[in-house]
Symmetry: C2
Subunit: 207 residues, 2 copies
């Protein structure tokens, strides 16, 4: 056959690794000096490569920011998906666990890595595509839980997708990087009280 | 009697007026050039008074910011109180009207007066006392509506104060100056869908 797969060039073979090394180095700089002060030249120097080589993997500094952010929130999305699919739990337990995870993750990042948190804040503020996708993916995890709860008769929701979106919007005070940092604006209801209130919105009528 | 009220000095008699003129002038500057660039000297010059005279009424620039903000949000609090007390409406209607008002007010300010909005954003970010009071007063309006709804059998809530706080926290995506500006982060559920979902949390069981 003449249509054989082309032999990859050496650079392309090592591409995933180099990409990962660039992102790990960028994330380290973001933590230490903040994402705004980090330059492509910093990243290239640390990796002993030319900035031009970095640009072979990422079109722009913005593309690096987005990829770092994507990796960061990809982890949390995977955890929410795992909770949504976890066997042996009621839909209520899974919803509570997912909400709790989102809150703790955001609070921890805010406290432990304030500079990384800055980047997330800025990304949210700039309404990056990656943030929109993040919201959609978390909401999808909630939707799965709501649908299964409705199937089991545990929840009642005429439109599970909309109910999931309402729950996600309803916990924004506890999971949004721009608001979680405002500890001084307490008191708000406890997350437990808020979650219980939102769950009432899913309770079957006639109970 | 010897304990007569002292005759006020002229300066004190005109104090409320001067205070108001300072605040109106400051608010005008905040709209035009933003609150950060506005100086006490600007305000004093416009009013043909010395900065020292401005400081007789307000300790600091920060005190002026807070007073401008207080006046601004005082208006909205008065409107929410008026809705909470409005006769001839069900508790549901009053809650929907109050939520709608908060959302429209925030959206309008964001669109029409982006610089004034900046100040509100900054104030929220700095967690000023005035913001905490604002949240408490709006929640108090919600609480009045929830309590009356419970009394009429229209709502069910074991703890009306907490339910009111949960509703207020639950609409933050639609009424918080830091989030309302992020139109690009749509879609979120419509405010109507969100309000309906939160109202389900107040619905009497057994319906």
């Amino acid at each position: 056959m003449s249509l054989e797969a082309p032999t990859p060039l050496l650079a392309e073979e090592s591409a995933p690794t180099t990409r990962c090394r660039i992102l790990a180095t960028a994330a380290g700089y973001f933590r230490e000096i903040g994402y705004q002060k980090t330059t492509v030249a910093d990243i290239a120097r640390t990796l002993k490569m030319s900035p031009a080589n970095v640009y072979r993997f990422f079109d722009s500094k913005k593309a690096i920011n987005e990829a770092v952010l994507e990796r960061l929130i990809g982890e949390i999305e995977a955890l929410v998906s795992e909770i949504a699919a976890r066997p042996g739990l009621t839909a209520t337990e899974r919803l509570v666990a997912a909400i709790d995870l989102l809150h703790r993750d955001c609070t921890r990042r805010c406290e432990e890595f304030p500079r990384l948190h800055e980047m997330v804040e800025a990304a949210m503020g700039e309404s990056w595509e990656v943030c929109r996708h993040h919201i959609a993916r978390i909401t999808a995890g909630f939707e799965r839980i709501v649908r299964e709860g409705v199937e089991r008769g545990e929840f009642e929701a005429a439109d599970p997708a909309e109910a999931a979106a309402c729950i996600h919007a309803g916990i924004v005070r506890y999971t949004h990087p721009l608001l979680v940092g405002q500890a001084a604006l307490q008191p708000v209801p406890s997350l437990e009280a808020m979650t219980a209130f939102l769950l009432r919105g899913l309770a079957p009528r006639g109970r």
